[in-house]
């Protein structure tokens, strides 16, 4: 308290106060207690408290809650970033570790540096072909799902008819079944030689063709997309569709020219979800082909091929995994830019 009488200037100029406050923490807790300094809020009349570092910090947070919110935001962000990105980092660590040192691989630092693994991935196996297979199948499935899902979503979301809820429930029920339940009948079906298909498909059966993967996967992921698109399409005001129809489109024309563009966020969501699900799918993809790249075996099959009879090439598997993630990562970034929400604001005056 003697301080107050001896240094009246400090009390009058809050700027000076703050500089001392900021200088204090590097001295530590002991410092703050021993050194005579005005740890006070210059505007308050309450008596001086001798505050420790943490107490002072807490007091600051209470007087200025925005700082607290910002601090907790950063803490949460960093936490999520670390938990999501660390596995990728560790994949990278494993990938660049030379094969001989794989047993010594650490958590943070690779045991050696061998970026050639990223090239070996393509030379050991035609891994690019596997990725291409998956990419193509996922793309076709996404287009098909969005097309069919849009039509179905339009019907469920915008038309009123008898039996609508029952039909919607039936569609959704499909997605409640475990996909494995469908496998045996489908496998039998796709392995059956159908004479009609003989001119189109070499063996006359769908086994070892992209259709064997794309057909069941599209069907399995369709209900979710229908549901998402239905919710979005039902929110487009009727007036816009009516206007398009009067101006010269059919109902389907209005769907694709007006309703779909205005539901861009929903379409992008459904599309990305479908693409990622199909691209990452393993169960059907691995069983519907014989695993050779020429038989349209998918990317995951390729990664597992680095697992030989006598050794497992963990570094190549890790490198392949990173390579396989890239197309999806790029897609999500691109789609995110396309997801422009708030397009409908100002469309209709309610």
């Amino acid at each position: 308290m003697t301080d107050r009488s001896t240094e009246p200037g400090d009390e009058l100029t809050p700027g000076a106060d703050e500089t001392t406050l900021e200088a204090a923490p590097d001295g530590g807790v002991a410092d703050a207690e021993t050194v005579d300094q005005p740890v006070v809020n210059p505007t308050a009349d309450e008596p001086d408290l001798d505050r420790g570092l943490i107490a002072a910090w807490a007091a600051k947070m209470i007087t200025n809650p925005d700082r607290a919110y910002r601090a907790s935001f950063y803490v949460a962000t960093i936490f999520f970033l670390v938990t999501t990105l660390f596995p990728f980092y560790w994949l990278f660590v494993v990938a660049v570790t030379p094969r001989n040192n794989l047993s010594e691989v650490g958590v943070f630092i690779p045991a050696g540096f061998n970026p050639a693994a990223f090239i070996e991935v393509f030379t050991t196996l035609p891994f690019h072909r596997y990725v291409f297979n998956s990419f193509l199948i996922a793309t076709i499935a996404t287009v098909a799902v969005l097309l069919v899902g849009s039509l179905a979503g339009y019907v469920f979301g915008r038309l009123r008819f008898r039996g609508r809820n029952v039909m919607l429930l039936l569609v959704l029920v499909t997605s409640f079944f475990p996909p494995a339940a469908f496998f045996i009948p489908l496998n039998r079906l796709f392995n059956t030689n159908v004479d009609v298909l003989r001119p189109l498909l070499s063996a006359g059966s769908l086994y070892n063709t992209p259709y064997a993967i794309f057909i069941p996967l599209s069907a399995i992921f369709l209900p979710l997309s229908i549901f998402i698109l239905m919710t979005f399409y039902s929110q487009i005001p009727d007036g816009l569709e009516d206007a398009a129809r009067v101006e010269g489109t059919t109902r389907i024309g209005a769907l694709f020219r007006v309703i779909v563009p205005l539901s861009a966020p929903g379409v992008a969501t459904a599309g990305v979800l479908t693409f990622i699900s199909v691209y990452n799918e393993y169960f059907f993809s691995s069983l519907m082909t014989d695993g050779r790249p020429g038989s349209w075996a998918p990317m995951l099959e390729g990664i597992l091929r680095f697992q030989g009879e006598f050794e497992v090439l963990y570094n190549l598997m890790a490198a392949a995994s990173i390579v396989a993630v890239l197309p999806v990562a790029i897609l999500v970034v691109v789609a995110q830019e396309k997801i422009v929400s708030g397009l409908t604001t100002g469309a209709v005056k309610e």
């Binding site: 101006e247 205005l262 397009l343």
Partner: protein
């Protein structure tokens, strides 16, 4: 430019009949307004004309062509919607040219027409604005430009001004009338606002519960309403009604008796009769010379006075025992229009006269009008 003809158009939803046996001929170049309370079927009627819903029964002809089962795009009509319905993801040019582009006009023609339409609604220089960057009035003008750019046979307008603020609405009202004069096209207009109906139309079609009540020029609907509904709906403030029955010497009700010769109006004693009188056709006794042919005076009590500036609305009760109804004007209540200099106060006893030339008689059972004047 085209005439529009409805014949026995009926629209039934599962258990509701929205439009019932509507038959109507609209001439080429005519401005016809569908007016009625909300839910009366006027919008449904318009949707059947546009082709957005198909009628359950009946036929629709546009320009002498049966379009009953054609999709909206092939009917040669355009439409302005209540909620404006501009495509939010397109700029003004794309919105206006949408229909032309779908019909694959060549680019020069599109540009020329869009420019012309923009000129008519004064939208020059706004071609690359997005709808959300515009004010309500501007958006409405874009919607009108989109409608006129295709040069359709008929315009359908579904409450196009309902979402604008009062001042803009009055302004757009005159704009639309000017537009009608310039384009000389058939316009079918839907509104529940009778001020718009009265001011703009060549004829108004009054609709209630899906049934056409009267189709006539606005003043005819006002002066000679076909039935009780039209009488009560057209005119603001609404007409006063007295319920009673025919007696030998005229009309008798709980509160007021009016003398006339029942035979001259083709009514018979004991018939249920409703007398209608507009607020501006009732006068205080001292002003009775203003009435062309005053009735004998009635006693009344002033209940509430509403000074409106250019006039005063006074709510009267025929009797101090009458309880003012909470829902509109009940039995025994009467609204009259007075000049602003009239010196009366609430709770005054007054004597009033009605103008016999403007007393309307309605058959209460059927609701149909019997006579629009007691003078013959």
């Amino acid at each position: 430019m085209a005439s529009v003809k409805l014949e026995g158009v009926t629209k039934r939803y599962e258990d509701v009949t929205a439009v019932n046996e509507m038959s109507l001929e609209i001439e080429d170049g005519e401005f016809v307004t569908f007016v009625g309370p909300s839910g009366c079927g006027k919008s449904t009627t318009m949707e059947t004309i546009a082709g957005l819903t198909l009628p359950t029964e009946g036929t629709i002809e546009i320009g002498e062509r049966d379009v009953t089962n054609l999709p909206p795009k092939d009917r040669g009509i355009s439409m302005v919607f209540q909620n404006i319905a501009l495509f939010p993801h397109m700029d003004v040019y794309d919105n206006v040219s949408f229909g032309l582009r779908l019909r694959q006009y060549d680019q020069e023609e599109i540009d020329r027409r869009v420019e012309e339409a923009a000129d008519i609604v004064q939208l020059e220089g706004m071609m690359d604005r997005m709808p959300k960057e515009m004010s309500g009035g501007q958006r409405q003008r874009v919607a009108i430009a989109r409608a006129i750019v295709r040069n359709p046979g008929a315009f359908l307008m579904d409450e196009p001004l309902a979402n604008l603020d009062a001042e803009l609405r009055v302004h757009m009202r005159t704009q639309l009338q000017r537009l009608h004069r310039e384009l000389d096209t058939t316009i079918i207009y839907v509104t529940h606002d009778q001020a718009q109906a009265m001011t703009m139309s060549d004829r108004i079609a009054v609709i209630d519960s899906g049934v056409l009540q009267q189709v006539a020029p606005p003043l005819k609907c006002y002066n000679e309403p076909a039935n009780l509904f039209v009488a009560g709906f057209i005119g603001s403030p609404a007409m006063n009604f007295l319920e009673g029955e025919v007696v030998d010497g005229g009309f008798e009700s709980e509160y007021a008796n009016i003398d006339f010769d029942p035979k001259a109006h083709g009514v018979t004693p004991r018939q249920d009769l409703t007398v209608g009188i507009r607020p501006e056709n009732v006068f205080l006794e001292e002003d009775s010379r203003k009435a062309a042919s005053p009735t004998k005076p009635f006693d009344a009590v002033v209940d509430v006075i509403e000074p409106m500036g250019k006039e005063v609305n006074a709510y009267l009760l025929f009797d101090r025992d009458v309880e003012a109804s909470a829902e509109g004007r009940g039995e025994g209540q009467l609204l009259i229009n007075l000049t602003p200099d009239t010196d009366i106060e609430e709770d005054d006893d007054v004597r009033i006269v009605m103008d016999r030339q403007n007393v309307h008689l309605f058959d209460r059972t059927s609701g149909d009008a019997i006579s629009h004047s007691l003078e013959t």
